[in-house]
Symmetry: C2
């Protein structure tokens, strides 16, 4: 009796990319390649789930082992990501049926979806529907989000590297402002990402190891912005330390619950498109305190900064990609591998597993006891949680003074369906 032909795998990246999402892709693809008797080809979605809907698949078997290996040190989404949230099943079943149709046409038996809370939900629904339609697909979610807001897992790949970037950057900028403060800039404001959860802003606090170190103030989305108390604190820092370095989360809200700065745009998930709270804070400081200021907005630089990635983060991103495949091979479905903190000191982590039904559409905020009582800094408890996540440097290779990041061939898979699909 001939062996059953192994079914193919589909891998896609979703939402905002990170410095290490490709390390997860590397983990998925390298592990699949080691189990060719059980998993056929790995197809990637060009631009994430959009590639699946439009039958625009990438044949990763056309990539060399060296190219796939280089994904481990390459930031952003090598196959293209997408901000494209599927509608609710009952509102648009055709979308889900189309996915199953494409997967059926290409004999997809494994669905590895690499994203945040929204994509965990998509992953779950695809698995449920496939089952119902008689095409069993093992759907495994690979966690990823710089926002670090997924539940159950101790941390999310992508976060540790942003955290390291932010802590390193505010330390360096702090040294700069300290040098200038006597005759020039007294206040420096660095805006970081974090729509609703202040994990990234919190990480800036790691740069301060003793009294007076930058940053002096952190503004969290979890804490309502109080103009008066904030200005008083800035003044206190300038008088005490000679200068004041501030990390502000893009998601900081005022007493009306409105974002301090809202560009008015919304992304496909309905999230407000933010940016520019730093100049708002700077203007406030100028008008109320008349200090000379400088401000920076890190934006994409922070989440793309593979050059200063955390080794722990890179290792976890790879391990979770690998674990996703291994869970599938063990017969798991509708699950997500997680990071479990096995030991605090020395820091040790291991892999765990979570049901997607427990993960989808949930946000994990910074707990109140991670923030000092006055709302302007992190506590020791937060520091104990955050510090291990930025440990170790994992420098990419350089050529001509610049990091060598890989660009894949991304060869298309021949289409099999007549019908096209309008997004």
């Amino acid at each position: 009796m001939p062996a059953k032909k192994p079914r193919n795998a589909f891998y896609a990246q979703s939402g905002g990319v990170t410095a290490v999402i490709n390390a997860s892709a590397c983990g998925v693809i390298e592990t699949c390649r080691k189990h060719k008797n059980k998993i056929g080809k790995v197809y990637a979605g060009r631009h994430g789930i959009v590639g699946a809907l439009t039958e625009d698949l990438i044949d990763t078997t056309k990539e060399s082992a060296a190219a796939i290996r280089a994904l481990r040190h390459t930031p952003a989404g090598a196959f293209g990501s997408a901000r494209y949230k599927l509608k609710k099943m009952e509102d648009n079943p055709a979308q889900y049926e189309r996915l199953i149709e494409v997967f059926k046409a290409h004999d997809i038996g494994y669905f590895f979806y690499n994203g945040g809370g929204d994509s965990a939900d998509t992953c779950l629904k695809v698995s449920q529907l496939a089952d119902k339609l008689g095409l069993p697909i093992q759907a495994i979610h690979v966690p990823k989000t710089v926002d670090n807001d997924l539940p159950i897992t101790d941390c999310c790949p992508g976060f540790g590297s942003v955290a390291k970037y932010v802590a390193v950057s505010i330390r360096e900028a702090g040294f700069d402002v300290a040098s200038m403060a006597k005759t020039s800039t007294k206040v420096f404001i660095m805006e970081v990402m974090g729509r609703h959860a202040g994990w990234i802003a919190a990480a800036g606090g790691l740069a301060s190891e003793k009294e007076g170190d930058a940053p002096h103030i952190i503004l969290f989305p979890e804490i309502t912005f109080d103009e008066e108390r904030f200005c008083a604190r800035v003044k206190e820092c300038v008088e005490k330390f000679g200068y004041c370095a501030i990390v502000v989360s893009e998601g900081v809200k005022n007493t009306d619950g409105k974002f301090l700065s809202d560009a008015g745009l919304r992304d496909a998930f309905g999230h407000a498109q933010l940016g520019g709270v730093a100049p708002v804070i700077a203007q406030l400081i100028k008008s109320k305190l008349n200090y000379k200021y400088h401000w920076a907005v890190a934006d994409y630089l922070q989440r793309a900064a593979r050059h200063i990635a955390s080794k722990v983060d890179v290792d976890q991103a790879y391990a979770l990609g690998k674990a996703a495949v291994e869970l599938a091979l063990k017969g798991h479905n509708s699950v997500m591998p997680t990071v479990v903190r096995a030991s605090q000191k020395p820091y040790k982590w291991k892999l765990g597993i979570a049901k997607l039904s427990d993960v989808a559409n949930q946000e994990k905020m910074v707990p109140r006891d991670y923030i000092t009582e006055d709302g302007f800094f992190i506590t020791e408890k937060a520091r104990r949680y955050l510090s291990p996540l930025i440990q170790g440097e994992d420098y990419p290779p350089y050529k001509n003074g610049l990091p060598r990041y890989v660009e894949l061939r991304n060869a298309p898979v021949k289409k099999k369906l007549d019908k096209t699909f309008v997004l």
Copy 2:
């Protein structure tokens, strides 16, 4: 006959600090320490020239060899810098006389001033006046400026590291935007420093090694901003490459010769305090082309980014500090050591010497033939000049996931003068 007691040296940092100005300080101090028979103690000005005027001197002999060595990998100004430009000699001779008085009181025979064009001018005047007042001081300027706008020297310490930061960052952000462009952000704008000269913006161009690579557009202060042609170029890039990554210099001016964004503040040198041209460009793209955008303002992060410093830059910064002392020991006065490009391929550099009278108050702009005819990119000639300056990585040591930068004791020298001086 007893040997003549060696006279002391004064060292100060001036103007905006850099990732490698402390490497020059390290070169100065370590070299002085090797010639104790000729140079006594090295005193540093606390907050640059302000420390000299107020007789607030730092005794660097109180610092260990290890602490001084660590300056080589520590960004910003370890003794404090100052934005404080001395008035013209004829407008305020008292300032210069005070400097000489302080130097006389502390037996200063060597004046090492680490700064840009303004401080080269100060250095020259101090030397001239000291001579006239019968207290000969050998004044040597140590070049420093991220703006890379000093004449004669092939390049300026501080620039190579900003150049590397900008090229690395726009490459990384370019990968990010490319991943997102299908369904989300299509245009990314990164604002960099460069008041009048576009060297830093130009360096971003190194990230693009083949057609389609980020960045696609560079906006220079040397080229008048033409809204219509710019928008047409952005559209062309988005249509051709799927996205558009832009590096914009803070000093870009419109057809009226006004900065696109001017915060209205001026610093002590009378330079406009800029920041925030990126959001102006973003808004333009939104309103004229309706593309989704993201923008970043690197600000101090770029010039403080010791974690991604250029090895060539660090080596040159140290060598110039060392050379300043060696020139003084050879009897030179009113000069500045320079970097001379000895060979283009392979890149080799050696040290030269320039008269301060040829250096002071001059700005070296990006030559027109370093910018493409359309004004939106760098030429091959520019690339040949810029590329060697970002070569090599010179990572600082890390502890707990963060770079270990040194903070000196900065012990004060006992004052000898009765009179205080009001700035």
